[in-house]
């Protein structure tokens, strides 16, 4: 009797233990991710916005191509191969055996519909901005082949298509929605004002990811996000401030594909004098400020694309901190009649990036040491943006415009023309020689393209000194002890659940 009872007890115990660990094992496949902001909506054609893209990109919906951040090369994803048929047309072969999460077949027709939906004027698709004013005309060739034609040559069409989320043809064409349906490994299960739940789709065409369920929540204070991972309330946060990244076991720095700079009003005196522009670049204690405000891993920038980007010129030497020479240059300019006493204004944006305001204060103090009359205007985003594009506001003082630019596409074509050509929307540069180089780069492809962009960057940095590049910005992730996650260049705008693994 006693023996039987003991055996029964042991069996029960094992059963319970099995159940518990079983449950634990099941629960161990769920993650909670805390984001810095609530996604405004879940419309895939707006996924270029970081708040939306973090949840949707490569989780719920996917793209034809995928940019490998380490190599900068475009690789296949939903499209398996492609070729440029003529100057204005590209042909893509699509992957077989893929279906959308609602059962609709993935084929050329569906891709054509997705592209047309992106360009639909009735919708406000943010992702459209990558294409500028180009008109795309996609067409079906056969079940798994399509052609995409453009009205001007687009040598980087495959790269551009890496931003277009392919959605089910059943999604409303003329309406933006909050229920995205794609081909990705996760389905949208729940979404309300406090959380978003993604559940693994077992019909996914690719390798099944480890995470079975992911819950996204959001807190705007970095300290709270960091605290949540520390207490175990969350497993991962893709962005915390440098001052919260205090634990080297859980906090990892990563280049987040943003580069900061001050754009100079080059056409307005005294900023039209190259000596003044050089003085501005060497008057700043770059090392001291970088380490103090942005973390020891921040990288001094000489150009406006991050390392690894096609066009990145690693031969450029940074301007060194040399306040003596800076003062001398200003005096020299003054002696030549350049009006260095003109009132200059720094146009800064509230909450632009962590410690942005502090960096502006520091730089203003250091520039004032040169004897310049320089003041700060901290503006709210909607106000700041008036200075971003041409035409710039009339009657302004010569401005030093604080700017942060994101380029994780691997191609400098998204950066150089808009910033440095005479017609460029953000540009204050008017240099025909530079224009020619950039034009050639835009129509070239492959290595030639990268070389030409690198040449453009060299000219901008060494000869023209068109701006004051600051840093290649770094972000910090905090990764909880349960999971395995390596951040990369895209982490700021995408959180790929398939890249999350479990420890032990």
């Amino acid at each position: 009797m006693k023996l039987r009872a003991k055996l029964a007890a042991r069996a029960a115990g094992t059963l319970v233990l099995g159940l518990v660990t079983g449950i634990a094992a099941v629960q161990a496949q769920e993650v909670t991710i805390v984001l810095p902001e609530q996604p405004a909506n879940l419309e895939p054609c707006r996924s270029i916005r970081a708040d939306i893209g973090r949840v949707i990109n490569m989780n719920i919906t996917e793209t034809l191509t995928d940019i490998n951040v380490k190599s900068g090369q475009v690789g296949p994803h939903l499209a398996t191969e492609w070729e440029q048929v003529d100057e204005l047309t590209w042909r893509f072969k699509l992957r077989e055996g893929v279906t959308f999460q609602d059962g609709a077949p993935f084929n050329a027709e569906a891709v054509v519909a997705s592209i047309n939906r992106l360009m639909n004027p009735a919708l406000t698709c943010d992702s459209r901005s990558k294409f500028g004013d180009v008109v795309l005309t996609p067409s079906v060739v056969d079940e798994l082949t399509l052609e995409v034609a453009s009205d001007i040559p687009l040598p980087i069409m495959p790269t551009l298509l890496g931003t277009v989320q392919i959605v089910s043809p059943n999604m409303p064409f003329d309406q933006e929605v909050n229920e995205p349906v794609g081909t990705g490994p996760y389905k949208l299960a729940e979404a309300d004002n406090e959380h978003i739940l993604l559940v693994r789709d077992d019909n996914y065409w690719g390798e099944a990811p480890a995470v079975t369920e992911a819950t996204f929540v959001w807190r705007s204070e970095s300290a709270i996000r960091a605290a949540m991972v520390e207490t175990g309330e969350a497993d991962l946060t893709p962005a915390i401030a440098v001052q919260d990244a205090t634990n080297p076991e859980t906090d990892f720095a990563y280049l987040n594909s943003e580069t900061t700079r001050f754009r100079l009003d080059m056409q307005m005196p005294p900023l039209n004098d190259v000596r003044v522009r050089e003085a501005l670049n060497i008057a700043i204690d770059w090392e001291g400020m970088g380490e103090a405000l942005f973390g020891a891993d921040v990288i001094r920038a000489n150009q406006m694309v991050p390392p690894g980007n096609c066009g990145f010129n690693d031969a450029l030497t940074p301007w060194q901190f040399d306040p003596e020479r800076a003062r001398a240059l200003i005096e020299e300019a003054r002696a030549d009649g350049v009006p260095v006493d003109t009132d200059l204004t720094i146009i800064a944006r509230n909450g632009f990036f962590p410690n942005a305001a502090e960096s502006v204060e520091a730089m203003q103090a250091m520039w004032s040491e040169l004897g310049l009359n320089i003041s700060v205007q901290q503006l709210e985003a909607a106000d700041w943006v008036r200075y971003l594009d041409k035409p710039f506001p009339e009657g302004r003082n010569p401005t030093l415009f604080q700017q942060q630019h994101d380029n994780n596409t691997g191609d400098a074509g998204f950066t150089v023309p808009v910033m440095y050509t005479s017609e460029g929307q953000y540009s204050t540069v008017e240099n025909p020689e530079l224009d020619a180089i950039i034009l050639e780069a835009m129509t070239a492809s492959g290595d030639k393209r990268c070389e030409l962009f690198a040449q453009a960057f060299a000219m901008v940095h060494d000869e023209i000194i068109a701006d004051v590049p600051m840093y290649h910005m770094i972000g910090f992730v905090r990764v909880g002890p349960r999971i395995d996650y390596q951040p990369d260049l895209k982490t700021n705008s995408e959180v790929r659940l398939s890249e999350i693994g479990f420890k032990g």
Binding site: S222, A223, Q243, D244, L293, A365, E380, A382
Partner: protein, 308 residues
């Protein structure tokens, strides 16, 4: 034997120091409050002239330096902020903007709200209702939206900030004043004065207003803290005073990210705000006791117990 009353009046006749001052210094808390307020007023008036550069120039070697060490000199005894600037220096200089903005906003809203409240409470007709509905509109207008609109269209300057803060506070003084006036105007002395031929304005400003003043001033003293804190919240949301200008409130808002790693950046200015409010309130309570004929004996009694 002399009675306390005789003692004080005898003392009043002979001492050059005015009675209120002497009574204040008998009470240790009130005395401390006066000393503190005088000190920060001095900071506000003379601080920027005396301190100067320490406040603005970044000193990266001293960044986030912890307090209570004299390594980098006396100025850094309270520690340094992210750019290595002395917190003590910034506290002293920040007093001017902080006190200035708060005082201006409180004064403006007190005067406007009080005046409107007097009228609204006294009037028995449409005017009163109109004023109250106007106050309702202002009170329901989200202060954030108002701040954004004013600061966007008129520019993010300090006077505009004062304007925003003042506008949002007016309804409070208005409603409180009106409530008190509603009650006071039914009292006997008002009917008496009317019977004696007092006109409306005279009644309002000479008779009713002084009765209502203590409550309003109490609220004003408390409101000072609210305004300083509201300005701090505006800074938290990015709408407050803009760099390089700063107030204690903006120092706390900007330092909040460092609470886990460099607590002193946000702590000292927060403490300064707290002590200022505390002092104002202690003084206002003291003044309320002093000015009320029914209550003054408590202060004078305190004097006698010390003389024992």
């Amino acid at each position: 034997m002399e009675t306390p009353g005789e003692t004080s009046s005898a003392a009043a006749r002979t001492s050059p120091i005015p009675l209120p001052l002497r009574l204040v210094f008998r009470d240790p808390m009130a005395a401390a409050a006066v000393v503190f307020l005088v000190a920060i007023a001095a900071c506000a008036l003379f601080g920027p002239m005396l301190i100067g550069e320490l406040v603005e120039k970044p000193n990266f070697r001293a960044r986030n330096m912890a307090p209570f060490s004299l390594e980098q000199g006396f100025a850094y005894v309270l520690g340094a902020d992210t750019l290595g600037r002395s917190l003590l220096a910034r506290l002293v200089v920040g007093a001017r903007n902080t006190l200035g903005i708060a005082a201006a906003a409180v004064l403006a809203s007190l005067l406007v709200g009080g005046a409107l409240g007097l009228i609204a409470g006294y009037s028995r007709g449409v005017l009163g209702n109109l004023i109250m509905r106007g106050a309702d509109i202002v009170m329901s207008f989200p202060s954030l939206l108002l701040a954004l609109i004013v600061l966007f269209s008129l520019g993010p300057s300090i006077p505009n900030l004062v304007l925003v803060l003042a506008i949002t506070r007016v309804p409070i003084y208005l409603r409180t004043t009106r409530a008190e006036v509603l009650e006071v105007r039914e009292r006997m002395f008002v009917s008496a004065a009317t019977a004696l031929g007092a006109g409306h304005m005279r009644l309002l400003f000479r008779h009713i207003a002084p009765i209502v003043m203590p409550t309003i001033l109490t609220i004003g003293a408390l409101d000072f803290a609210t305004v300083v804190l509201a300005e701090s919240s505006l800074s938290f949301l990015g709408l407050g005073v803009q760099a390089p200008a700063f107030t204690w409130g903006s120092m706390v808002a900007n330092g909040r990210g460092y609470l886990a790693s460099a607590w002193w950046v946000a702590f000292w200015p927060g403490l300064a705000i707290l002590l200022t409010t505390l002092s104002l309130n202690v003084l206002s309570n003291w003044w309320r006791t002093y000015s009320d004929p029914h209550q003054r004996w408590r202060l004078e009694l305190a004097k006698r117990s010390k003389a024992k």
